[in-house]
Each structure stands twice: as structure tokens, then as C-alpha cells.
Symmetry: C2
């Protein structure tokens, strides 16, 4: 007979038992069981536990999570709450680790990342200041120099001077790429509108006063229309206005149109415009198409025109570790600032962003002190940082780089790029599919364009009548949704406006290939499934829904 | 004989072995050993492994971390890298879990938090969008409603309408309190300078255009001089200018001086000033002194004057879970926005911030869409969020609240407050110490004021000649540093300007009592040690360094 359940109370003794260690053997055993799976058989665990339920509609899901009162007494015993996470929540989460999940920039991570994250959580250092991190701040400064060197490749003397220099700063860890981009523009804004006679600088006096002091009406930031939405958000947040994030046309190869960039710069730099160009952004791995802008040419233009050149390499940055493909990012070493994400192609767990600066002094423009920490002259990393309290993500990345070496990372990245190339070739071979943007890195877009509907297409490769575009958009939107709901495979979708093609707003399927377990056989299955969904739900002669 | 070390290579097979699971039994055993300690005997592990080395000067530490080249091949085997973290890095980190570490807002966390963090890392959901989080986004919305209810206590109908409503938003998770404060001001700014005829709003058109449209010259934010430095940073970042974060005097009880607040508001609201007050900030647990502003009175003033009222409860917010002390925060339910940190008094690992809004619609002012995610009408949490990619911290907090109940949390918080009260009484009893700010919550400041130097003090309790202040500042600064370097105990220090006392820039020792293992006996040891340091390094008759 099982004993009647004890009422759970929160008294000091019970609390301390829960605080310090598993309170009894049963708790210990339960935790051990799950932790053993998570830490030592991660990929099996994910396959068998995560994202395995039938699709529940969001509405239905919402109905199950509606109580809004916090309970005074414990709701369940510790081991039952953990068990719930594993047997109730995990199955309804998304198995982003699956090699069939090729729709977003979130994928499988090495099992040891979970170990590293656990160690960092256990140490619970706060890197905002030395007094709560000590050696960890020193390791972080070293790692910032290492990645800076990967990007900028300055000489030994340079890094000798700056690696542990409390007065200079080669970069900063942030929560994610959004924060890294914000930091880059924050620095660029403060640099462009710095103190001058009778003006204390934009950071102190604000944008209203800055525009007056500099005799301008607005600031703009230029980026190709493939720019990530965080750039718009940054411009809004920083008081520049997101309308002043100006989209430059793309060339037919989907990279920024340099002529349009140059003419736009000239227009804005005409004094009658009273406009200051705060930054030009080059993209190294566009979120939607993976394309890399011509960074060298852009850097040259920016140098000539004295404009801050920022490279958003949140996605593509780690490609620098591949000798085979690093030339794709050539010119990045001329950028004034660079964004790279750790939770993307450094294969770290959620989340880790970074921003790097060519000049070790430029972050002086965002210095903040306080009386109780971050005092003048201290090495507290929080002095020049968008963040306040911050976890020691640097320990994870530093360790992972030691474990895999840049060659290990290169293999992962090369696998992604080359699998994407094979996938593109496969799509081009298939009569019912159409490649829309070929992969520069490991991202490509395509769509189902059933051969039965092809005769309706016009001469142009992609272009067609608006009616057909609408129909194809509907087909692809439906297929993407039904495939996601079926739960085995996942590609994402987006809407592209493509230069040199005579049609806008093309709904495409988007594939991001970073999981080393994803191979062409799996990608073929993904395509096969899409075709079956089409054949099941649409009339093949007319392309209309059955 | 040990076999010669194999050269570590990064080929595909070796990489996959490292990626998926421990590659051999030795690796497994090493990881198991450490993980067993970290997960099941956390507090013993921390005591024996973390922060146990003799103090190394920062300069010396810096010299040990200067190589800046990333290695192409793996530097060490996985288990050796992990071992290094445990035996080389951890000992030189800071044992923030020690009950003698009472200097900052970072402290011991329940052992199960590390389990929860590991599970979240393993699931690796990205809460920016439903497609990479699914049920986790739903749980997060529910938790936001639960904490909103803790703060605002609206009725069942209200939460029924909003808990899972994709069109409304009760709050947002952020990286930390800094980001939560930034979000609150971002929303307040956009709300105050919203679209009107011929003006698309500050978020779209920027601050320059906004000031023109609204006929103003500047915006200001008002907060007592105890405001956290992130408020200044927020004003700088948002383009308002950090000089326009205006410090209001404190009353002798260290809370905001309401008369000064009122007169300042009146001054700024005089049309001739062309100034818009974006927000008034009430502090619920000041970083330096723990003081709580008179929130009810402030809310009333703000309502009358139609000013956004923000409460920075990063520290004090969880006090709402204590029936005994929640009245200290009375008035918080009238705030337009509230910041609370998870990694502070919710005892979560680094880091987790949150911001809550009274109005479920106000976050519409910071809406961002993209074509590939966060599409119009979706429930993607990234639509209204400062962050982009984001880890599922909500799962950790939701679980912890179930495990401990609000009563469990209340016990922790009450222990801190009551231990601080006892500590204050003890300081007042001791002839060589002086209490500077008594604890409202669980933070107090004091200083060593040796009885031998007391006759020199003037009539005022704290006030004294500038010379004596300087001398005491030097003594306390020295004691704080030497105690930290000795490595057993840690209090922090800050410099306060105190109202109603006739002296400024008083160097004080600051104690934050949140560790449930910290008791009066330990705090007495901390004081004893400080006195011994004084007696060892200073001449007791003159207070001069020996």
C-alpha cells in the first residue's frame, strides 16, 4: 500500500532540505535518472522525449495553461516538478535537434555544451564585475581577444597590448545578436555625435541637442533589404527612428546593389539633406537567404566616405574558422564593428551574442560607472557593456573552442555549406521544385512549383502572372504548415522580393543546414514529404485545394 | 606505463564522437564524477572547489591569460578541458555561495536550479518564436500572468482575458534588470511621443522629429539619487540623454524627497520649459541601501500629473510573496511598469530579468515583425520584446515557484530581512562600528568608526570634519580590500551622499543578506575580522596606517 500523500508544507526545515540537496533517496534517484539521460545520452533523450506529441492546436494548448494564481504552498515535490518538465512539457516542445528540423538557426548542439552550461550555472558568477567573477572576467577578456584576432588578425604586439588591458576593450558579450547590433549602433551613434564645444555629446545630452549641435535633421543607417529586423529595432530604440534604417536594393545575386548604395550615400551626404549617415551595414549570412554582401567593396566605400562600417555576421561569422570558405567573408577585417552569435554557428546553447570593434578605444563612448561597482579604473567588464548582470557564457565558448579546435568547427560549417550545395542541386533536378536563392553559405530558399502548373509560367525563370504567384504562395504556405504540424520535418517560410526577377512577394521555403546529422538522404525525405502533402491536398491539374 | 599521448585531431569521426556522447569510458567517468558533485552535492562542491586559492593580484592573473591565437586542432581532450574548469578556473572564481559572501546581490541558489538550467539547455528552445518553442511560449505567457497577478492583483476576468491572448502582453522576459528598465522606458517614450497628425511616432521617425512634432526641447526621467546606474544608461541609449535622468534629493530616511519631486515636476511641466517628463521612477530596494520609496504617494502624484510611473523592483519585487513584509511595497500595484529580476531574490542562476506593465496593450508601442518569424497575428513572443533569441528562463522560474511555493520564497526573504535587522542591532551595539543606513529590506550600510577616533567627531551623528571623513573613508576602503583579499568574507563598499547629515561622500561597507545560511554568528565573525584588520594595519590612537 502506498502511504497517503503528505501535505506539502513550506517550513524552514523543509525549505532547507530542498535548497541544499535532494532531500531523500527517491528524489535523488528520479533526478539521477533524468540527468543521466540528459548529460550522457542527450541525443537519444531528445529523440525519445522532445516534440513527440501529436500536434495540438495553439488554442487547445492555451486552454491548458490558464491558471494565474501562484500557490502559497509547494504545488508538487521537487522530483514531480522535474518529472513534469520531462514527461509533460518536453514532448510538447520542439525537437530543434532533429536532423529533419532544418527551418531555423537553432539546431543540435554537442552534448558537452549542456555540461558546460551546468558548470557555469553552478559557479553562478556575475561577469558584470570582478568581485563576482574574478578569473572569469580575465578569461573573458582573453577570449574576446582570440575572436577579435580571428576577425581582424592584428599582430602579436597589438594583442599583447590589449588582451588584458583594463583601459581598452576589443568587444563585448551580449544576450544575442540583437543586443550586439544595438551595441554597435550605440557606439557608432555616440562616436558620430561626440562631444564638441558647448555640447556634451549625444549620450549625455540626447539626440535633440545633438542634432542642434551638429546642424542636422536626421541620422540614417543603410543596409540591404536583407537586413535582419533587429537593425530596424535598434534604430527605433536608439532614438534614430526605424524609418531611418534605409533599405538598399539588392542586386540579382541577392547581395547589396553597390551602385544603389553609392548613390544613396551621395544623396544623403549632400549638405542640403542635413543628414548624417551613422553606419552602413554589411551582411555576412543573411537570415533569410544566407547571402554575404561584398564586404571588401563596402568597406572601401565606407572608408572613403568616413562612415562606420558594421558587419552583421551573427550567422556567418564562424565561417572564418574554415580555411576553405573564409574568403567568402573577405573584407570583414576592415569593419569597424562585427556582430557574431554564439548560439548559432558556435553551437552554443541559447543564448550568446558578441560584438567586436576594430578600435580598442571606441567603446569608451559607452562608459558607465557606479559607486558600488564599475568604479573608474577597475577592470569590471560592466563598465562598457549594454548589459548589467551577465552569465559567464565566455567560459562555455572558450572551452568548446579548446575541445573542438577551429578545425572541428570548420568541419561542422563545411558540412553545412556542402550539404546545402548538394541540396540545391537536388532541388534543381526535381521537376516539381524550384530553387529560388542558391546557398552562399548553408541557407537556401526554394519552393514547390508543381510541373503541372509550369506551362502557366512566363518566360522569366521565376516571374509569372500575379495570379500564379498567389496560387504558388498559397500552396507553399499550406505545405509548410501541414509539414510542421505532421511533426517529422520542419522547414520555415518567408516572403522575398527578388531583384532582377519580375515578381515580388514570393513565398519561399527556407532551409538552414547546420545539424551535422542532416544529410542529403534526409533532405530528400523532406522534399518527398512536401510533394506527398501537395499531392494529397491539391488537385495536380489545377493546383487548387481539394 | 602510460601510453604516449595521442595527437588530437579534428576529423569528422572524432568530431562526431565528441558531439554526440562521451567518446569512451574514461571521458564518461570524469564527467560523471564532476556532474555528480555539481548536481547532487552542489554546496559541498562549491565550498571545496570555488574561490579557494590565495589571492592572486589581477596583474599576475592577467599575465596567465594572454595567448590570443585560437588553436586549429583540439587543445585538450574533452574531459581535460572540463577538469581544467573545475581544478584550475573554479578555485580562482568567487564563491558567491558562501554565507560569508554578503557584499553583492549574488548568492547561494538552491541546488535544483542547476538541474533546471541543464534541462533548459538540453531542450535548447528559442522563445523568440513559437516554431522553436511551442508549449514553452505558452508556459511563459502563463507565468507572466502569474507574476503580473502577484504585482497587480487584478481579477479572474482580467487574467482570463489576457493569460493566453496573442494580442495582448502583460510583460516580457529580459536578460537582466538593465534590459527590463530599458524596455520600460522604451515603452514609456513611445507612448508619450506616439503618432499624431503628420507624425508617425518616435519609434518610426526618431527623437528629432518627435520633439518637433510635440514642440518640446527635451525629455526627462526623474528618480531619487539612489536610482540604479542602468537608469542613466537607459536614458543615454534611448536618445534622451543621460543628463536628462534627473536625480531627486532623498529625505533623511533615504527615500525620495516627495516635496522635491513635486516641485521638480512643476518646474518641468511649466510650458516655458518645453520639457516632457517621460517617467518617474520609484525604487523598491535600492541597490546601495535597500531602501523602498513611498510608492503609493509617488503613484498618486504621477496619476495627477499624467506621468508614466515605473517601479524598479529588480531587488525588492519578490518581497511581495511575504505576507509579513509585502506592505513595504504598497503602491507598486499602481505602477505603469515594474522591473523584477529572477537572478536576485527569485534565487535563479545568472541571469533573468522581467518587466511588467499594468496595461496589456502598452507594449504595442514596441511591436516588430519580420517575414520569416514574428508575423502579424502570430503568438511569437519576439514580436514585443527588446530581445531577439532568448533562452527559456520562464521554465526555471515556473518550476521553482511550484517547488518552493510563494511561502518557501517568503521564508527566504523574511530570513534576509530579519537577519539584517539583527545585524543592524549588533552594529549599533559595537563601539567601533557605526550603522549608516538601517535595513528596510535586507541591505544595510555601516562603517568602521573606531572608538579611539570618536572624540574627534562633531555633534552630528554621522557628520564630522572633512579630514576625519577622509580618514575614515581610507580606513574602510582598506579594510574592505584586505578582507576581500583574505578570501573568507566579503562585504562591498560604496560612497553615499546622505541627506540630513552634514557630510557627503561617505565611504560605507555594504551588506546584502540573502543567503539562507548566513546568520548572526557569521556576521559577527565578519565584523570581528574587520576589527582585527583595522587593529593590525592601523594605529589605534591615531587611526593612521602603521
Amino acid at each position: 500500500m502506498t502511504p497517503p500523500p503528505k501535505r506539502l508544507v513550506a517550513d524552514w526545515q523543509a525549505l532547507m532540505r530542498t535548497f541544499i540537496r535532494p532531500e531523500d533517496d527517491q528524489t535523488h534517484q528520479t533526478l539521477l535518472k533524468y540527468m543521466e539521460q540528459i548529460l550522457f545520452r542527450l541525443h537519444d533523450f531528445l529523440k525519445t522525449h522532445v516534440g513527440i506529441t501529436e500536434e495540438t492546436s495553439l488554442k487547445e494548448l492555451g486552454r491548458q495553461f490558464t491558471t494565474t494564481r501562484l500557490c502559497a504552498t509547494p504545488v508538487k515535490k521537487l522530483e514531480d516538478v522535474i518529472t513534469d518538465l520531462i514527461v509533460d512539457i518536453a514532448p510538447r516542445a520542439v525537437n530543434v535537434h532533429s536532423p529533419y528540423f532544418v527551418g531555423h538557426m537553432t539546431s543540435a548542439i554537442p552534448f558537452f555544451m549542456v555540461h558546460l552550461k551546468s558548470i557555469v550555472a553552478a559557479l553562478n558568477q556575475n561577469v558584470v564585475k570582478l568581485e563576482t567573477s574574478k578569473v572569469v572576467s580575465v578569461v573573458e577578456k582573453q577570449l574576446l581577444a582570440k575572436i577579435h584576432r580571428l576577425i581582424y588578425g592584428k599582430d602579436d604586439a597589438f594583442y599583447g597590448r590589449h588582451v588584458q588591458n583594463p583601459d581598452t576593450c576589443l568587444g563585448s558579450f551580449t544576450e544575442n545578436g540583437t543586443m550586439a547590433n544595438i551595441t554597435a549602433f550605440w557606439v557608432a551613434r555616440n562616436q558620430a555625435l561626440k562631444p564638441r564645444q558647448d555640447f556634451a555629446g549625444v549620450e549625455a545630452d540626447g539626440i535633440g541637442a545633438a542634432y542642434e549641435a551638429y546642424g542636422i535633421k536626421r541620422c540614417v543607417i543603410l543596409v540591404s533589404r536583407r537586413g535582419h529586423y533587429s537593425l530596424r529595432k535598434s534604430a527605433g530604440l536608439l532614438g534614430i527612428g526605424n524609418k531611418n534604417l534605409v533599405a538598399i536594393d539588392t542586386a540579382p545575386d541577392d547581395r547589396i546593389d553597390l551602385d544603389h548604395l553609392k548613390s544613396t550615400i551621395e544623396t544623403f551626404q549632400n549638405p542640403s539633406q542635413q543628414t548624417l549617415i551613422l553606419a552602413v551595414v554589411g551582411i555576412a549570412g543573411a537570415t533569410e537567404t544566407g547571402v554575404v554582401d561584398p564586404l571588401s567593396e563596402m568597406a572601401q566605400i565606407c572608408a572613403q566616405k568616413q562612415i562606420h562600417f558594421h558587419v552583421d555576421a551573427a550567422w556567418g561569422g564562424p565561417t572564418l574558422m574554415s580555411r576553405k570558405y573564409r574568403a567568402l567573408l573577405s573584407g570583414i577585417e576592415k569593419a569597424d564593428s562585427v556582430t557574431i552569435d554564439g548560439h548559432k554557428q558556435f553551437y552554443m546553447p541559447m543564448t550568446c551574442g558578441m560584438v567586436y570593434f576594430k578600435s580598442p578605444h571606441i567603446m569608451d563612448a559607452v562608459t558607465y560607472h557606479a559607486n558600488y561597482i564599475n568604479r573608474m579604473g577597475s577592470v569590471d567588464l560592466g563598465i562598457k557593456s549594454l548589459s548589467g548582470s551577465r552569465e559567464a557564457n565566455s567560459l562555455i565558448l572558450d572551452s568548446a573552442l579548446k575541445i573542438m579546435g577551429t578545425q572541428g568547427y570548420a568541419l561542422l560549417i563545411e558540412h553545412g555549406i556542402e550539404t546545402a550545395q548538394k541540396f540545391a542541386a537536388e532541388i534543381e533536378k526535381r521537376p516539381d521544385f524550384q530553387l529560388i536563392t542558391p546557398p552562399t553559405l548553408n541557407i537556401l530558399t526554394y519552393r514547390l512549383f508543381p510541373k503541372g502548373l509550369r506551362p502557366a509560367a512566363t518566360a522569366s525563370e521565376i516571374g509569372q502572372s500575379q495570379g500564379l504567384t498567389k496560387q504558388l504562395n498559397h500552396i507553399n504556405r499550406t505545405i509548410q504548415r501541414l509539414q510542421r504540424e505532421a511533426g517529422k520535418s520542419f522547414v520555415s517560410r518567408t516572403t522575398l522580393t527578388l531583384s532582377g526577377k519580375d515578381v515580388n512577394n514570393v513565398m519561399v521555403l527556407r532551409s538552414v543546414i547546420m545539424n551535422p546529422m542532416t544529410d542529403l538522404a534526409i533532405l530528400n525525405e523532406v522534399l518527398d514529404e512536401q510533394l506527398v502533402i501537395y499531392q494529397t491536398h491539391f488537385d495536380q491539374a489545377t493546383g487548387k485545394e481539394k
